[in-house]
């Protein structure tokens, strides 16, 4: 789960990490007041769940409180289009008003969990302010990586090694190791899946400050982090995905094509997308219907397909295992009973209770396009969507 920059900085601050002075504002007047408290000169940052804000005009310097109020007024209520958002952009309902910082150096500090090391990894780089994946690709030697196993946890020596590696001598070294220790503790105690401070700046007055910060929370751990789960901002999420979620269809991701997909299992679902693409079509979504054996979720998935005006055809590919084919088939029939479905449906069924499932579809008297395997299904769906 993603959260906003201002929320991430509040969390850093609670974890004992010093952040730039400032506050979040939901109205232009509020932004002006905060700017005045900061002495007028400040930075106004649009709060959206996407990077690339600077180039897109989402981060602006204000010279006075009035200027700040004006900038905030223009940002608030608008949609910000960055390289990382969709073409419609993300809605700006809050701005972060922060002190202007005189930057001497820009560094990068990040944490994630490394599946190969099976441990949290702290990453540091002198190439701060840049897209770290770009740096990893072009200048891998510029990224210091340290896997921190859970036997030792984060020790001061980890911090010294990274800090000296960044060229930070005392007393900045001590600031850096303390910040890293706090970030590690935050990461492991709060179930973060990603923490990025980019840039982490050394100010001209000798402070180490997170100028921007991104924290993602492990979705699987939200059940035990209710205070973090409460930070979700639904406005930043796609409308169709939100609708799917509210209908209990959890593993739904909107894509940009015209073929709605309903598959059981994430791997098979990805393979179906691949198969559609190689058949010359474009999927409208990823959807792993999962294994919960009830017809309601199937009906709800069809509600989402119907709400998606781009969908010209639907491909159902089910290989029963945990999931039972007859239940899925029953769900498809119920969907037709509950709503007016006009798009063609290609169905490929296999696995547990497949015969019972096929009988249900036949008995319904409804028209479906049946397919013998996933390749056949993909080709038929592409053809159906083009009609």
């Amino acid at each position: 789960m993603k959260i906003h920059e201002y929320q991430a900085k509040q969390i850093l601050s609670q974890a004992g990490i010093r952040v730039p002075k400032g506050n979040v504002a939901a109205t232009a007047a509020e932004a002006g007041r905060i700017a005045a408290e900061l002495g007028g000169r400040c930075v106004i940052k649009a709060q959206v769940h996407a990077g690339g804000r600077g180039k897109a005009g989402g981060i602006r310097a204000a010279t006075s409180a009035a200027d700040a109020e004006g900038l905030a007024a223009r940002m608030l209520g608008s949609r910000l289009v960055t390289a990382q958002t969709s073409a419609e952009g993300a809605p700006v309902s809050r701005v972060l008003v922060e002190e202007t910082v005189e930057v001497a150096r820009e560094l990068y500090l990040g944490m994630t969990v490394d599946g190969s090391a099976m441990a949290p990894v702290m990453m540091a780089s002198t190439a701060g302010g840049m897209e770290i994946e770009e740096v990893a690709h072009t200048q891998p030697e510029k990224i210091l990586k340290m896997a921190i196993n859970s036997v030792s946890g984060f020790q001061p020596f980890h911090g010294r090694q990274l800090a000296f590696g960044l060229g930070l001598e005392p007393p900045l070294m001590a600031q850096a190791t303390s910040l890293m220790a706090n970030l590690y503790r935050l990461f492991v105690t709060q179930d973060l899946s990603l923490a990025e401070i980019n840039p982490l700046v050394v100010t001209k007055d000798g402070r180490l400050l997170p100028l921007d910060c991104k924290l993602n929370i492990d979705d699987n751990a939200l059940f035990r982090r209710p205070e973090l789960a409460a930070l979700r901002d639904p406005q930043q999420e796609d409308a169709l995905e939100l609708q799917a979620l509210s209908l209990g269809v959890r593993n739904y991701i909107k894509l940009d094509g015209s073929i709605g997909c309903m598959v059981n299992g994430a791997g098979l679902a990805m393979a179906v997308l691949d198969q559609i693409t190689s058949a010359g079509g474009r999927p409208a979504n990823f959807l792993d219907i999962g294994t919960a054996n009830n017809t309601e979720r199937v009906v709800n998935a069809f509600k989402v397909f119907k709400a998606d005006t781009r969908v010209k055809a639907v491909l159902v590919n089910i290989f029963g295992g945990m999931a039972r084919v007859d239940v899925i088939a029953q769900g498809i029939v119920e969907a037709h009973q509950q709503m007016d479905i006009t798009f063609p449906i290609v169905i490929r069924l296999a696995g547990t209770n497949v015969d019972a499932g096929k009988k249900i579809l036949e008995a319904s008297g409804l028209r479906f396009i049946t397919a013998s395997d996933m390749k056949d299904a993909a080709e038929k769906a592409v053809k159906a969507a083009k009609r």
Binding site: G115, A221, G267, L268, V272, A350
Partner: protein
Amino acid sequence: MSILVDKNTRLLVQGITGGEGSFHAQRCQEYGAKVVAGVTPGKAGSQVAGIPVFNTVEKAVRETGANASIIFVPAAFAADAIMEAADAGIPLVVCITEGIPTLDMVTVTGYLNLRGARLIGPNCPGVISPGKSKAGIMAGEIHMPGAVGVVSRSGTLTYETVAQLTALGLGQSTCVGIGGDPIVGSSFADMLQLFQKDRATRAVVLIGEIGGSKEQEAAEFIKTMTKPVIAFVAGATAPPGRRMGHAGAIISGSSGTAKEKMAALKAAGALIAPSPAQIGETVKQVLGKDSRR
């Protein structure tokens, strides 16, 4: 022969009194697995389909000699269950549970490393050695005994693959789902190593996914293998930065894409199936050509 499970496997089911645990304990039993015990704290003395239930794994192992465990307990309690199995000396733990917090798995894998236990999963379909034993949730009837090993990060895509193999008359030695999470107990390379040593396995199918670098690590091991490996990586058309159902299936940076993974596997000598629907055919071509027994 086969890997991981066979006729000597004495299976324990953790969470046996729950809906899924009870259902699959019986399916495993029906398939021929020796399901010797179940564990649900506080339910000692009861039975599920004739299988005795114990309060702790330690006690279950002591009384029944269980040497493998399959876990169905909910995500919030699964890490504890895995460690309990390892602590009781069980050498093979299969965790079906999906949705375990990643940092729990950091602890679990560290602990299992210390105890010398092997974990398959979590968030996986488990293991089956067709005709011998099953410690998993896959439908037994689509499988057929034979010489192809299958290892995959995905559940249903494994079924798809197995169905293709069986339809072409290509039986399987063992099929393993290693799980779709960012941290899993066993890697592709771990399983390839076992398949390489297994006399019954003549070729291995590896089914990867976008995200992480487990396929690239597998490629390093494939370079040392004498048996043919047929590979497919799902998610070539998935958008970057999104979690595709499997928590591990996020493309981040350049190394997680299906394209790079397939390139690494190909460079290591694996044959890449052109589409998910053609995995079986590709295996058939290879085994047809392969003169080694």
